[in-house]
Symmetry: C2
Subunit: 255 residues, 2 copies
DNA sequence: CCGATGGATTGATGTAAATCAATGCGTTGA
DNA sequence: TCAACGCATTGATTTACATCAATCCATCGG
């Protein structure tokens, strides 16, 4: 996990001069590690305009940068690190609604306040646009709008899967689904059947809040999977999937 | 619940001649009961083009018309009735991910197969577009694309709320949240504080599958609310909210 | 009119996961 | 070096909800 974004369309991260601030910055909305990023839909000539509109921000681990209910002034594009998105009840119960990896857009609210909070898990880089600037950009770059619609659709599909998980799956099924999802996100060697090493950036508490479980249940379930030879739980945040196929059976409800 | 769509922008449903089929039909994507429908973002001159692209279909209660996993050939706009959207596990466990009322778009999949199933609850009318036609329309009507992005964003917010509900709320909180949501959808007299009569189109089973509960728990919870004087459970599908404020306290987790 | 059917309600019992509680362990900082 | 802290694991106990089961009550077809 380098915190320097790389781009499949360029040999090295591109550095440009930011308009007003004069700061150098890595590319943001136009150059991220995600294959479906706007990289491939924005014309070369438009890039500088996009970049001028953005301000890069580096957010340290644990720092919140979107507060649920606050006025939705900005729009973000994650370029490095992992962000957790969540909603909370007044008594502190918390539901993480998703994790945003590089390439994701945040703050696509229609209302004028944010519907969720966001907090950096590890060191996060975002490019920040004002909402009015964003609206301008949408008017000028139809391809960007198409891209946002695509992203929103993808998130909707993910949200539906998560609703099925939260409403109807058992603890074991939830944890198995989570591990497989994380495997599919952590692209590199892809699922060829062999063991797959994951390096999860989030704590057990985050996983619990994402899966609608408690820390203890997540921990017990991982221990059970270990006892079954399905996974290996390493030091820190490392988990190795030893039998993707058995996890698959579990996750889909056939366990 | 008349099955004839009415439109706030016209005194009576508009009837037009469908291009190829020659059938008469009520207006669809351009004229629904929802205030945020495309009604207000499509120019008058574009209406006939939109209408030509659509085929109206009437779907009887209980009939499914989108199958989870099937090739995503069509795109729909609901014009009357209520549709339930759901995902299922192989052993039959089911999660209803949402209800689509008139004005909603369905089938906004990025992948080439549907991520969810859809079934008519009561008699439903939809306008059906082929996906390729839809893509053409998006190219020609930027306002339609903006409208879809808006709708997707709204659904995303709703999905996040539902994840909080499914992951962290108790049965009582879930049912209270559901009743209040239904109240806000069933617009007419709006929440002025007094009792509010709901006519829910869905069964207890649907409610249970939407809230991640069983039929028995939904029934017991409604009975408990009745015993507390919060609601009145009428014959059939009628429920009257007697104390919106107490339901509100419950729903937000302060009960 | 009446048996069959499907939805809803209510009661008795079981259980998966939450809660309460103790321990270990790696990192941090005085 | 060694508290102090956060995070994780594991065990004992409780509980909210599911499951199993019985009954009621409309609607519907013969």
């Amino acid at each position: 996990m380098s915190d320097m974004p790389s781009c499949q369309f360029e040999s090295r991260p591109r550095r440009i001069m930011m308009g007003s601030s004069g700061l150098q910055t890595d590319f943001c909305a136009t150059c991220t590690v995600r294959p479906n990023s706007v990289c491939n839909v924005i014309d070369e000539g438009d890039i500088s305009r996009l970049a001028e509109a953005a301000v890069e921000t580096i957010i340290p681990p644990g720092r919140g940068f979107i507060e649920e209910g606050a006025p939705a002034t900005d729009f973000f594009n994650v370029t490095a690190g992992t962000v957790k998105l969540f909603k909370a009840l007044p008594d502190g119960r918390r539901q993480i609604t998703g994790f945003a990896a590089p390439g994701h857009f945040l703050g696509l609210a229609v209302s004028d306040s944010y519907a969720f909070g966001a907090e950096a898990i590890d060191t996060v880089r975002v490019c920040r646009f004002s909402r009015e600037k964003m609206t301008e950009l949408l008017d000028d770059f139809p391809k960007l709008e198409r891209r946002l619609l695509e992203e929103a659709s993808n998130e909707l599909v993910a949200a539906q899967n998560q609703m099925l998980l939260l409403g109807r799956k058992t603890a074991r099924e939830r944890v198995a689904s989570f591990l497989l999802d994380q495997m599919r996100i952590g692209q590199p060697p892809a699922g060829n059947g062999g063991p797959c090493r994951l390096n999860l950036p989030m704590t057990r508490g985050d996983i619990a809040d994402y899966l609608g479980l408690t820390i203890e249940t997540v921990s017990r379930t991982l221990s059970w999977m270990r006892s079954q030879g399905m996974i290996e739980v390493g030091k820190g945040y490392a988990i190795t999937l030893l039998s993707v196929s058995r996890l698959d059976v579990l996750a889909s409800g056939n366990g």
